[in-house]
């Protein structure tokens, strides 16, 4: 693809106040319309990357090095206000927990049209018809009724559909999906995943898909970055990764995935030798790393 990548992260490092790095020189590139999965165990910094892109890192986490380019625009070079405006117009989030991602005291309709009207300057009628169409696309049967509901009146799966509709509503170029199926029922997970994949294809939106579930990765993404301790240990096309994982950690993660074909097999933890190897890599990366401005 000749166009600029939708998102390009180069050498991104972020630290906690203690000076410890939570992201270790992360680089990744997402082409327009591509689904890029970030996998790793909890604490590996997957969500942190998503938050960094969207500009909502916790205040204790500081980006000390690296660049993020959103459609060729360097986010770090913009004023906070311009950055907010750009991120607001070009990106969206599909959150992990649909139970807390909707404001409990506001009706669904105004809550999701608000952004289109107030931030993007759409007319109320345009925003409303857009939302109805999107709710229809996410297979909500009575969009007219749902927009008048409060979040607590909808099931978790319904709320996640609403949030997916809201994320796609403004035709963002990039969506960060932060473990969008983790909080859901197993049966609902599959539907939601298929829904995201379908909408992604139709709308041609690039997705940074954060997950810890390799099964999900195989189904939805074209590319994968495997993270450990804030470090990308392997990046590959999804098919290549599953056919021939290069890094021992990736292999160990794959071996650790439970399989329904053999439900009585005991679960495999990641091998101690692999972990020791990783610790060595992390230490080496930290030794080689000098922050540009201390």
């Amino acid at each position: 693809m000749s166009a600029a990548p939708c998102l390009e992260i180069s050498n991104l490092s972020a630290t906690l106040p203690s000076g410890m790095r939570v992201l270790r020189s992360v680089s990744l590139k997402i082409a327009p319309g591509e689904v890029h999965a970030l996998v790793g165990e909890s604490g590996a910094g997957k969500s942190m990357i998503g938050k960094a892109v969207l500009g909502v890192l916790p205040t204790s986490v500081r980006i000390v090095e690296g660049d993020m380019l959103l459609e060729g625009t360097r986010l770090g070079a913009l004023s906070p206000k311009a950055r907010r405006a750009l991120i607001g117009a070009r990106t969206a989030l599909i959150p992990q927990d649909p139970l807390t991602a909707l404001n409990p005291s506001r009706r669904i309709g105004p809550q999701i049209t608000d952004r289109l009207i107030r931030i993007l300057g759409w007319s109320a009628s345009k925003a409303e018809s857009r939302i109805r169409r999107l709710l229809d696309e996410v297979q909500i049967r009575e969009p007219g009724r749902v927009v008048g509901c409060y979040p607590h009146e909808l099931s978790g799966g319904m709320r996640q559909r609403v949030l997916i509709a809201a994320a796609f509503a403004a035709e963002p170029r990039l969506i960060v999906a932060d473990e969008p199926t983790t909080a859901l029922d197993v049966t609902v997970q599959k539907q939601i995943l298929r829904l995201i994949a379908d909408l992604q294809r139709e709308h041609g939106t690039a997705i940074l898909f954060v997950t810890h579930d390799l099964g999900v990765v195989a189904k939805i993404s074209q590319k994968v970055s495997v993270l450990y301790a804030g470090m990308v240990v392997e990046e590959a096309d999804t098919t290549a990764l599953f056919a021939a994982p290069q890094h021992p950690y990736t292999r160990a993660l794959m071996a650790a995935t439970p399989r329904y074909t053999d439900p009585y097999a005991s679960l495999l933890p990641v091998d101690a030798a692999v972990l020791a190897g990783l610790a060595g890599e992390v230490a080496e990366a930290d030794r080689a790393w000098r922050p540009v401005h201390a």
């Binding site: 607001g88 989030l93 959150p95 807390t100 506001r106 008048g148 509901c149």
Partner: protein, 282 residues
């Protein structure tokens, strides 16, 4: 499948009982000159310490009896309700506005704003409230205004603490982060996303605070620091009744019961409202 929008639940007994008593009292307060059987200030030593209507020796027209100066107790209670309500509404509203605003700012913005506001609250709450009130009234001079100001100045911290805690919880919710990503400003998010979710608590606390204001006013008038001595305040009537408890128990008991029911009703009314309108609890 039943309609999820149907929100009717069993009639909320405490909301209705409390609301009923408060409405009755409010109506009496507003209509006081029309419905009070006697002039609350008229003294008549011929009619001193008349008992309530069901007892031997009562006089028609003096339903709850009279005090040691022959003033009609019911009329004084009704006119006292006026003062109680004025103080309750004005003082609680002022405390609520000041405290909730600061609490919301501290809870949502955090950081320096929170540190400064929280320290002020800590220092403020270290003063014993009743003594603080007496001191304030002594400095400001007696009168209705001073009582209202004193209560507001003392009790805003209650709102600040509660609203700050609630706003902190709400600010960490994903929907606040989502609004941030969408590009909304901090002020807008605070008012549009956070405030509505804190509002049920504010309403409950406002009602509770009105009850507290009624008590504080009664305390201040009991120690003669409210408005002029012969004005019919509940606290003043209680002080009067305390002196003649052995000859005329009713002068003490009726205002106490009224005060008790009113304060209880305010707190129950607030809780009832919260249950009814909190979208999360519903």
């Amino acid at each position: 499948m039943d309609d999820v929008r149907l929100r009717s639940r069993a009639p909320n007994a405490r909301l209705w009982l409390a609301g009923g008593w408060l409405s009755l009292l409010l109506a009496a307060a507003i209509l006081a000159p029309l419905i009070a059987p006697q002039d609350p200030l008229a003294q008549d030593l011929m009619f001193e310490r008349l008992p309530p209507f069901w007892m031997q020796g009562s006089e028609p027209g003096f339903w709850l009896g009279t005090d040691s100066l022959g003033r009609d107790l019911l009329s004084r209670l009704i006119f006292g309700a006026r003062i109680a309500f004025i103080v309750a509404f004005a003082a609680a509203t002022a405390a609520c506005l000041a405290g909730s605003t600061l609490g919301l700012v501290a809870g949502y913005f955090g950081g320096w704003a929170d540190r400064i506001i929280s320290r002020i609250v800590d220092v403020w709450m270290a003063f014993p409230p009743v003594l603080f009130a007496i001191l304030l009234v002594a400095v400001l001079g007696t009168g209705l205004h001073s009582v209202i100001i004193a209560i507001a100045v003392i009790d805003w911290t209650r709102f600040c603490r509660v609203v700050r805690a609630e706003a902190m919880v709400q600010s960490r919710m994903d929907y606040v982060e989502n609004a941030r990503i969408a590009g909304f400003g901090r002020m807008g998010i605070m008012l549009r996303e956070v405030l509505p979710n804190v509002l049920p608590s504010i309403v409950a606390l406002l009602s509770l605070e009105m009850g507290i204001a009624v008590i504080v006013e009664a305390i201040l008038s009991f120690v003669n620091l409210s408005i002029s001595t012969d004005a019919p305040t509940w606290g003043g009537i209680i002080a009067e009744g305390r002196l003649s408890i052995h000859q005329a128990w009713w002068v003490l008991v009726f205002p106490l019961v009224t005060l008790f029911l009113t304060v209880l009703s305010f707190s129950q009314f607030g809780e009832g409202l919260k249950d009814r309108y909190d979208p999360v609890l519903r």
